[in-house]
Symmetry: C2
Subunit: 628 residues, 2 copies
Amino acid sequence: MTVELTFLPSATVLEVPIGTTILEAATRAGLDIPAPCGGQGRCGRCKVQVQKGNVEQPENAHLAAEEHRQGYVLACQARVLSSSTIVLPDELPLEQVLSGVGVTDLAALAPACDWQHDATVRSFYVECQAPSLADNTNDLDRLRRALLHQHGVSDVSIDLSLLRVLPQRLRSQDWQVTVILEPLREGYRLVDVIPGRRERMYGVAVDIGTTTVKLFLVDLSSSKVLDSASAYNAQIARGEDVISRIIYSLKPGGLEHLRRLALKTINQLLFEVAERQDIDPQEIESISLAGNTTMTQLFLGINPQYIRQEPYLPTMLHPPQLNAGEIGIEINPNAPVYCAPSVGAYVGGDIVSGVLSSGIYATEQLTLFIDVGTNGEIVLGNSDWLIACACSAGPAFEGAGVHCGMRATEGAIEEVIIDGRTHEPTCRVIGGGTPQGICGSGLISTLAEMFITGVVDKAGRIQPNPDNERVREGEHGREYVLFWGQDERPDIVLTEVDINNLMRAKGAIYAGFSILLSSLELDFSLVDQILIAGGFGQYINIEKAIQIGLLPDLPWEKFRYLGNTSLLGAYQTLLCQQMRYLANEAAAKMTYLELSADNRFMQEYTSALFLPHTDLEAFPSVKALLEL
Amino acid sequence: MTVELTFLPSATVLEVPIGTTILEAATRAGLDIPAPCGGQGRCGRCKVQVQKGNVEQPENAHLAAEEHRQGYVLACQARVLSSSTIVLPDELPLEQVLSGVGVTDLAALAPACDWQHDATVRSFYVECQAPSLADNTNDLDRLRRALLHQHGVSDVSIDLSLLRVLPQRLRSQDWQVTVILEPLREGYRLVDVIPGRRERMYGVAVDIGTTTVKLFLVDLSSSKVLDSASAYNAQIARGEDVISRIIYSLKPGGLEHLRRLALKTINQLLFEVAERQDIDPQEIESISLAGNTTMTQLFLGINPQYIRQEPYLPTMLHPPQLNAGEIGIEINPNAPVYCAPSVGAYVGGDIVSGVLSSGIYATEQLTLFIDVGTNGEIVLGNSDWLIACACSAGPAFEGAGVHCGMRATEGAIEEVIIDGRTHEPTCRVIGGGTPQGICGSGLISTLAEMFITGVVDKAGRIQPNPDNERVREGEHGREYVLFWGQDERPDIVLTEVDINNLMRAKGAIYAGFSILLSSLELDFSLVDQILIAGGFGQYINIEKAIQIGLLPDLPWEKFRYLGNTSLLGAYQTLLCQQMRYLANEAAAKMTYLELSADNRFMQEYTSALFLPHTDLEAFPSVKALLEL
């Protein structure tokens, strides 16, 4: 029996079976409600308001009495009993966009980012005097003179490509132009000269991920994020992780091919948002990018081979100031291109950008920051000091290198519950349809449930069980069947080989945590907060991640999901000069610990190659659960 | 009857008729003896030494008694009577190269150009520490660290193209490299990183003339000019003068076509000298160019149309700092490109460069500087002040726009003597063969002789003379036959139309002189020296130029030929940062007088449209000659 649900403000209507959770219904309707705890009712982030209708939900500590009265429920817990109208949070204003990606307090950012007065590009409307025989100053100096007289701006340099169009630009609207300037260490550089008066000025912030490229289109005159877009990095076709990309780049023409693929991805996203917002890409006057060290070098066409070879050297940490035209970004060719600085071979601009936007560099709290993407990078520290390392977690948590793995898209099993008695699994699938494979959060969930229910032992071995047809010998060794294939499609299984891959990945990350702490003679108990960033972080279930020993066994309230901190940092450095200084400062402050050079890492790693860990005492909550 | 002449040091041998002048013989042998007075025995610059043989020459005030004893003769006056051996001056050392183009005193240049310590690019040999896990600083910072420790150099920036090759360059000779740096206002820019130790460092200085492009290849470590080359500017095919080039540039694709033609010319010259000197063009680390305002804009691909339209505006006076790769010059793509600054639409970088190298900007003498090329530019002033103008002399003095005109190459009539009684001409032809046409100096010479002998009157009208078959009515009006065409080739004539063209050209230049002087309430008698620059200047005969009223009637000793001052200025700004500051200073100091905006110019011009001038009193030497 179905009921009709109406979601406001979008007025989306759909039919769902009675008892469906609001979160599930919203997901089916293509609406996005943040549910970082994975729908466990634990984070309290998925509050929605029931305007009309009958909705049932268990009691929940995340809702204040006042909120209860106003009809607020947690979307993940509340089940619809009758046709209802549900109000989703408004499209987030900028403040909430920021807080939604982990910056809880915009005021804390403000002093560091006075974007109105410390902008990376500035716009000036200028009326030049028309020339005459008595006043035959050349075009460029005429413009400079007007800038000085009308805006007090001096020492303005120009690039050749802009000089080539300057005469026409000045004359086409009777010597009235809007001038875009980039402040330099000394003076300014002309970025654009636009005939007539133009108020609009756009910029883009880009996160070049190994797997996914994400982009914000920003109105630079208001700092508002107008639109966003994301797509797979087209380089994926040439390797899933940075190492395989580096290997590909060494083939003849490989480097240039990868450079073009990344460029194509970015240009397509630019075209997409520009078209949707009905703007000319030439009106985009500034771009800020953040990516890991290899992505940055590949995008700039700089040979990354020495990143991979001991002693693991990037070519540079601070990419030079570039123009869009110089590297093929299809916006105003004179637009300045800013790339976030790296710290080392495997701690790149994406992490510096994340450290910036997450505010670690400014907090007094001892913070453990982890960005789990194709690689796992960890930063430990606070406003006084920062130490960072990278663990080659591999792409297992992105579904790669796992037999039935897939990315977190429609059809992916994202959560599994295994019955402790029958060992029968219940799968939640993104989009709700027939499962096609298992994504990262599904893998964590599956492994945790298999461990807790005894399907695998602490060494990751699947226990033989003749009574359970789901445990069997497969082509790749012993495996557990999560879903019986239908219509000649193969069964979805998790093999012992997959489990080994996952354990190596989680072991590497946990060892990274341990090493960073022990290298400073600290331990987990001293950590005030754990910030989880990365596309992956949005879907991870902390309880399950602790159960397999991926995350340390700390109180849940110490964990916070930040989302794409790299993109947010790129957004900040797009807007504000001061944020670039702070990025440099943060990068300079970060000590890079090269784990492959550290014997202790191998010990920690080996210890972490168990579920949850060789030292069960380090995981008291898991120990308690196992004892139950 | 012929004799055998041997020229040393090249040991060139050739046979010539008895009585041939040494200058003529040397010219036939392809050897270059400077003879700026046009072989009149008046400048004393063509001294050569007779080592063996019998040579006859009239007495000459230019040779000291000691020189006589040592066998020195003036090549233009001395005629060989027997087989002889003649010693030409050695290949000129730098001091004489400089003095040969007008800088009489190298010491006067020295304080302004300390090229060893104020070089535009500098070379450093660096040994970087090999990296290790314990010292895993990235490539760029490793290089910077070594530069700081070994040479005290800091604040070094890098361009993308060099970053792309940096890893390989550093590693190919075990982290030992030669680094070329360009000093900036603040810090340095990396121009090149060369594996191992390399002492050589080359630069090129270029004069981009409307008609001819000339180039010096310079050893930047010694400042020595290693080689030179010149070629017609390939743009000639699209117009003889700047105006026709500007018109062509407005056609679809015209600007880009002209840009490529200039670039092709320069690249071919570069290739030529590099091949001859057996160097890789990639070893050329710096380039300095001087050209008029239109040539500079065309070369940079900047629309020059507003240079031609009232109020005659260039796009800019100071071209931005560029890299060779950015504009297609085929040397090290990171090599800095310096273009001399302009003063106005028709007083360009070539004139600023000439003002620099001729030393006007530093002399106390009141100087009139004229550069006669396709256009005529005049500068008046001294170390305190400078005023400049351009007269659209047109290309008549380069042989264009004249019926039988041609450039000063083989086959051109370069001097004419007309018998005062018979009106029969005697022609001297470049290369000595059959005349093909008349070049600039030949035109001046012909017109002067026609005037002095009464073939034309002071209005430039050819006088009817039924007794002289050389005066006749031709297809283009009345004309004077200089040479009877042989083998069905047409006669070589000077028509009244040609004479009008020449008179307009010489009238414009003389009016320019007058206006500059009168605008400051000065007159010719106060002028201490007249410096004549430009390719044209090397061949002009001052006596004849005064007779037609092209040059003012001042004592010959006040005239000096400087040759290509634009190229010499480019050579100076190639070597030395300080010369660039001085060029900017000279350009800033020059007041640009736009003649087309000046009514007095039309008056002066009209007055100058006579031979030599309406005011014969201004030309006392000519008056005396006419009275004879």
